[in-house]
Point group: C2
């Protein structure tokens, strides 16, 4: 995944084929804002459903809520976002262009300047004689820029509100309600899927650094004394993950370690079993979505990369053509947020759980929908010598459209036969697409380009013998199947209980 | 549905049982903002899935997109929202309280003042000597208040953005992309589910008039010459709907007319078949969600209630305890929006569809998620003489939890048996809840209160004979069923292929 123009190629397919486009494109777009098109939206729904089944519905003690995006100032005063949710901004004195100070330093010097103070940043800029990348002008001193979008609520001026920069705050401020819903029995999790907003200084890299994005988050509350007696952990303790420890980062590291989550928790690389459970599940989930295991790892975050209250954070990072990118964050936020809101609101968040007074701790696995979708697009993108078109090797778990039905020709009743078949397959629950325009080869190419796994073609033999051909996206081979077996065969192929090679073998033997 | 305190009772259950709560409640809440709790979120997901299956996935020419909520100023300059998406605001000269002018007039005089000019409003206030409801002070002149929330995008000041007041604009501005995805073949629909924002002067009535809300919308584009040759219409033309015509509203009307959508289109009460199709589907959908047909109707909107470019709008209104409320709007927006954006962006939106140049017209069915959920809550809310608790008579299509599994006692292996059964039922796809705390009668009451349809109890006979009891929410009667038949019986009950009375009859006959 080192091809430099891979992101451009993917953006091109995304635009042409209805995956993603810039928001308000006809007005020149709005930097950092994107719309998911018809295919992107189908992928997003599959991703959210996959996550929801795995992390929420399968667990009796995790429930999902859906909170408001616009929250009053009091919430962010208490949470600390108003004071410190900011990035260092640096401006050119002559052309007035603005940059993120740590980014411009990294680009010019390779120094990782995240988390440095304004004074430290200014010093590096001065020492390295960094100038404005667009006009070579002198740069002003760095200053802090708050990343929250603010607005006024109601007709009375002065009543400020902010678009939430993370979904988590809705959950913390209503903690008492949710604890009561869960009958105060720890551990319990409150999940949320929804938009968050960060007014980034310089959005870039397509879906990676944007100003409006969707998160899938869980706040898992637990008694800190029970952090290593988390019953769900038993099911996943043997899962092997790739990990980058604190110690590895003190030297040059080239390859993550592979170890079981059990070992990682025992060695305190992962702070506790609660986070260990989520890390194991995330690793399994990404693989099921078509992202190869060797391409991602969990990196222990260094002190300057985490807030002061962190009990240990691990980011899931993936190797992309544009560099290593965090697509999931796992944060052990301890009881920091509940304490802050407890104090500011004069509430009591302590609960009596199993006959014991506890202020719960929280572990937060937080996933970016757009970043995961982009990662899937990059890892599934293919260019072959045998095809003149690009294609996506999506697994069925995430493919926006699974199968297509084509009549070989529009005439002689082939189109009607194919249309009926398409509707039957839809009724049977397949995500099917009907296409009768253009030559059959062109239709296969169009289907490959959006990652459709199997194309079913209705030809003259279909009319006579009630058989159709299935064309396999990955091998481009074709098999002929009786209509009466079609649904079972497609089911087995999509569920990966049958390979296309096996299907071809079976045919030969019959 | 005339009980005056019904809304308070529902709010009380919603808060206590995890359906809905105010956003940021611990800070005094934020007027017009709500969070869906665990049960509200499950209902919302069922509602969205129901809508998506019916209106999007079942139709080959309707696709869903997912656009950004924050859009640049250029979009709303072109759409007209910046100039005219406003409500008349009136302020008290002494206590400075603010009100929506037409609402304060309606409350004081019963005059429907929607759509009147500022001068007309001032005149009514003066003539009727309307004073401030809170301090009896003199009211100032009315002025316009724009309902959009504005914010600044990026670090450069002056780059304004607005939270979208409707989901539709994302679709219009990217019309070319979507037309191309649909290969320029009219008719086609672009759907969207997502949040919209309106800075209401005085939010009220719980989920009815809020500042942040979720919409399920479709923009159905068609060739205006084909407006009455809409093939989907054929499937629904005989559906009988309740309707209130323009003529009826010129007199006093007490009861809507019942007629087929076919008649309504032929009589031009519904502007065309495109809207006729959606109206028929909406009527069927609401009934399937537990809202009785006699409680709602489609009202033809009068000229002062629609924008000047409307080709005919019909609101679905429902009778609620707080008055008649619009929960779905059907708008024939003609080619107004495409024309406006075409001009402002200097693009061409004309497409060649079926060898003909067309600037498409659009019909927009727009549904409010919160309003529909509230309507379901009101119509399903029950108080019985036989029960000391309230309950919700949700149909399975919308019930947040369908079944519950209870062990009679926690001891003697009953809890383990029940827990295993619960997990098996979840695996089989039922939305099941396990509860072993408190007396069984109390557990039934708690289940009724959140509308669980069937409670399965594991008792000592279960251990001996592998049978369990099913308790029916609606009748409170119980039937004993062998474990091996349980899934089939539950399936048949939830799918309404079997009534509980029939189940009891079958037992007697065995």
């Amino acid at each position: 995944m080192t091809e430099e123009n891979r992101i451009e190629k993917i953006i091109d397919v995304c635009l042409r084929r209805g995956f993603v486009n810039q928001s308000a494109e006809i007005y020149g777009g709005s930097s950092g804002f994107f719309d998911l098109g018809p295919l992107g939206t189908l992928m997003r729904q599959k991703l959210v459903d996959f996550w929801r089944q795995l992390f929420v519905l399968d667990n009796d003690n995790i429930f999902e809520i859906d909170g408001s995006l616009l929250l009053p100032e009091s919430v962010f005063k208490a949470s600390g976002h108003l004071d410190s949710f900011e990035d260092p901004l640096i401006q050119c004195k002559s052309c007035k262009s603005m940059y993120r100070a740590d980014h411009i330093i990294a680009q010019n010097t390779g120094i990782s300047a995240e988390g440095l103070s304004l004074e430290e940043l200014d010093k590096i800029v001065e020492e390295n004689k960094i100038v404005c990348p667009s006009c070579k002008g002198e740069l002003d001193k760095a200053r802090q820029f708050n990343l929250m979008f603010s607005t006024g609520i109601g007709p009375v001026s002065g009543n400020k509100g902010y678009l939430r920069p993370e979904t988590a705050q809705n959950i913390f401020v209503n903690f008492k309600r949710y604890a009561s819903f869960m009958r105060n029995k720890l551990p319990f999790g409150i999940a949320q899927v929804g938009k968050s907003f960060r007014n980034e200084i310089s959005p870039r890299n397509f879906l990676i650094r944007v100003r409006e994005f969707e998160q899938m988050e869980i706040e898992m509350f637990f008694d800190p004394e029970m952090a290593n007696k988390f019953s769900l952990f038993d099911f996943v303790e043997d899962v092997e993950i790739n990990i980058v420890t604190k110690e590895m980062q003190e030297k040059e590291w080239s390859k993550p370690l592979s170890m079981s989550v059990k070992d990682a928790v025992e060695k305190r690389i992962i702070p506790n079993q609660v986070m260990g459970y989520f890390i194991a599940m995330e690793s399994e989930m990404l693989q099921a979505l078509g992202i190869p295991k060797e391409s991602f790892w969990f990196r222990f975050m260094l002190p300057h990369e985490t807030p002061h209250y962190s009990g240990g954070n691990l980011d899931l990072e993936v190797k992309l053509s544009i560099g290593n990118v965090e697509i999931i964050g796992n944060a052990y936020r301890t009881d920091y947020d509940l304490k802050k809101h407890q104090k500011a609101s004069k509430s009591t968040f302590t609960i009596v759980s199993n006959n014991k007074k506890v202020l719960p701790h929280v572990v937060e696995p937080s996933m970016g929908v757009g970043r995961i979708l982009y990662t899937i697009l990059e890892y599934c993108y293919r260019e072959d010598e045998s095809r003149t078109w690009s294609w996506f090797k999506f697994p069925a778990s995430i493919a926006p459209i699974e199968i297509a039905v084509f009549p070989l020709m529009k005439k002689d009743g082939l189109a009607e036969y194919a249309q009926d078949l398409h509707l039957d397959l839809k009724d049977a629950g397949f995500v099917s697409f009907y296409d009768d325009s253009g030559k059959i080869g062109k239709r296969y190419a169009r289907a490959d380009e959006i990652g459709i796994l199997y194309c079913i073609t209705v030809d003259y033999e279909s009319l006579e013998k009630d058989t159709v051909t299935i064309r396999d996206r990955d091998s481009t081979k074709q098999a002929r199947v009786p209509i009466e077996d079609l649904e079972d065969v497609l089911d087995a192929l999509l569920e990966e209980e049958l390979t296309f090679e096996e299907l071809l073998e079976n045919q030969k033997n019959n």
